[in-house]
Every structure is written in C-alpha cells, then in structure tokens.
Symmetry: C2
Subunit: 75 residues, 2 copies
C-alpha cells in the first residue's frame, strides 16, 4: 500500500474557507449554522485537522454559495 | 439542523471517475492499486455509495494525475 503524506487538500480547503468566510464577514459560528455543521468540527477543518467528507464539503460549499471545486482550488 | 439531501457531489465524482478511468483504459483494480485504495471501496465511490474523504479524494486525483477540483467538476 503506497504511503501518502497527509493530503495537501486539507491546507488548501482551510485557506479557502478562511478567505471566503472573511469575504462574507462571517464568524465560524455563522458558517457552521448556515452549513448545518458543528462549530468545533468546522474549526478543525479550518486547522486542517479534519479529514472532511464530500457530503460535508458540499454543505459548506452550499452555505458559501460556491462550487465544491472552488473550495479545493488555491487561487 | 438543516436537512440536506445526499450530496450531488457523489454522482459528479462517480461520473468523472468512470470517465477519467476509461480515458486511460484502466480497470478499477488498476486505479485502486495506483491510488493505494481497496478496489471494493473504489467501486462504492463509483456507485455514489461512499462518502469519500478529501485525503482519499487526493489519492485518487494523484493516481489519475488531475486536480481534486477536476474530480468534482461536471465538464
């Protein structure tokens, strides 16, 4: 089984989440509520400590009104 | 807590995986081996039955030599 380092996607997602949330002037509480997720879970995603699933990625993308692909793209 | 339907991302990912795998003439066994994943797991992802994590999404993207964002985009 190939050893793969911790996915760099976590850091990209964390950066894009913080950026998109700041653009909207939203707290973590607000984004968590809009996405129907727990704030501490969202906080862990923003610290790259959470191996988030695509169902939850979709909920966050919907809340921010962006595509999921956008969340995984470093602009 | 907002009720969110099963994420449409699963179907997009499933479609793009089958497309990209076919383009390379790869079997599920070959892609699973390249990504260091279990074939039955990959098969479930291709049937939209698996709520895949971004770490595993990254492994598949690496194996196919595409961006993770590409895997979540319906072209």
């Amino acid at each position: 089984m190939k050893r793969v380092p911790l996915s760099p996607l976590r850091a990209i997602l964390a950066r894009q989440l913080r950026l998109l949330r700041a653009e909207r002037g939203w707290s973590q509480e607000r984004l968590a509520a809009e996405a129907g997720l727990n704030r501490t879970y969202l906080s862990a995603v923003e610290r790259s400590e959470q191996n988030i699933s695509i169902d939850n990625l979709y909920r966050i993308a919907q809340a921010l009104d962006v595509s999921a692909a956008r969340l995984l793209t470093d602009l």
